[in-house]
């Protein structure tokens, strides 16, 4: 720490005042650097998945009725949502997903929920209680989440008709953001 400088500089008669100012400047600089640290996200080491092709996956459905594969959804707008039953914000965003799904379920938009770091039973219970009829699948030991560079649930990815990730939303999502993202992708020529 630089605090001892205050003490030290008091005794340094020639430059006492200058040294005090110097010490204070260093301390202020320290604080500013620390404060600036808030701007960056330490977990962001530029995984930069946006703009790249989404990692392929074929995963078991939560209810055990077959699989869902990303490549089979080519040509559709795909919204991939990572969630977990223990995750509080997932519960918060769930109604928005339900409403968005009601709105688009009959169109060329698919919503896929991927259970993240959770047991199948808890996941089933979550869906049963909160509703939601879109396909939900279980991640294979987190491999898919890893491929997408998921920080933690909830996280939502918007994938275009060409299979390229066009958008990413970290944290609970609201209906507006969902609709805006989906509409942007639907309008985009492929």
């Amino acid at each position: 720490m630089t605090t001892p400088n205050v003490a030290a500089s008091r005794r340094f008669t020639l430059t006492g005042r200058t040294a005090n100012l110097l010490v204070i400047a260093v301390l202020v600089g320290l604080i500013v650097v620390l404060a600036l640290g808030f701007r960056r996200d330490p977990r962001d080491i530029r995984t930069a998945v946006v703009g790249k092709e989404a990692p392929a996956f074929r995963l078991e459905r939560l209810e055990g009725t077959g699989t869902v594969a990303l490549e089979e959804l080519r040509g559709k707008v795909v919204v991939v949502n990572f969630f977990a039953s223990w995750c509080v914000p997932c519960r918060e965003e769930h109604p928005a997903l339900v409403r968005a799904w009601e709105r688009y379920r009959t169109s060329d938009v698919v919503l896929v929920g991927i259970l993240f770091q959770d047991s199948v039973e808890s996941g089933r219970d979550f869906v049963r209680r909160l509703g939601g009829t879109w396909p939900t699948v279980v991640d294979d030991r987190g491999r898919t989440a890893l491929g997408f560079g998921v920080f933690g649930p909830p996280e939502t990815f918007f994938i275009g008709r060409d299979g390229v990730i066009e958008g990413r939303h970290i944290g609970p999502i609201d209906e507006d953001t969902l609709v805006r993202g989906i509409e942007t992708l639907r309008r985009k020529p492929s």
Partner: protein
């Protein structure tokens, strides 16, 4: 800043002015020497974190240590158990770099996943990794064996 600290305890007594000055000067010299070593070492130990594209744009000199961060491209990861020869391609969507290392890959290193490799470019443009850090960002999770960020 270090200079003023070194003199922090010089007093103004009557006795032993020469000796007192000697103590203060010795302390000062000590602090300056450490400051010098620190600044020297800092410049030498800074490992830049670059994406493959940035590494190419900067024209990173052969032999200069850097960390490359990107994704392990699908279908490129090879580990030969007997020779422990490890190679894969790391890319950021624009540029791709072939990475060659020795030693078992960390448990988390998978195709399509993010990875950070520390090492240097050889003259042939291949990145020789001294250390491979598979990375996975997660809330309060420690890295797996072999992936401690600054292991020696």
């Amino acid at each position: 800043m270090r200079r003023s600290r070194a003199t922090g305890s010089d007093g103004r007594g009557a006795q032993g002015i020469g000796e007192r000055r000697l103590v203060a000067l010795a302390a000062l010299a000590l602090a300056i020497a450490i400051g010098f070593i620190a600044v020297q070492s800092l410049a030498g130990s800074a490992v830049y974190y670059l994406t493959p594209t940035e590494a190419k744009e900067r024209g990173l000199a052969a032999g200069q240590t850097a960390r490359l961060g990107g994704q392990v491209e699908a279908g490129t990861l090879r580990y030969e158990p007997t020779t422990r020869d490890l190679r894969f391609v790391i890319g950021d969507g624009v540029s791709r770099v072939l990475v060659i290392g020795t030693g078992a890959p960390p448990g988390l290193l998978r195709e399509g996943a993010g990875a950070v490799v520390e090492g240097a470019f050889a003259a042939d443009g291949v990145f020789r990794a001294t250390q491979v850090i598979a990375k996975h960002d997660e809330v309060y999770e420690a890295p797996p064996p072999g992936a401690t960020p600054s292991r020696r």
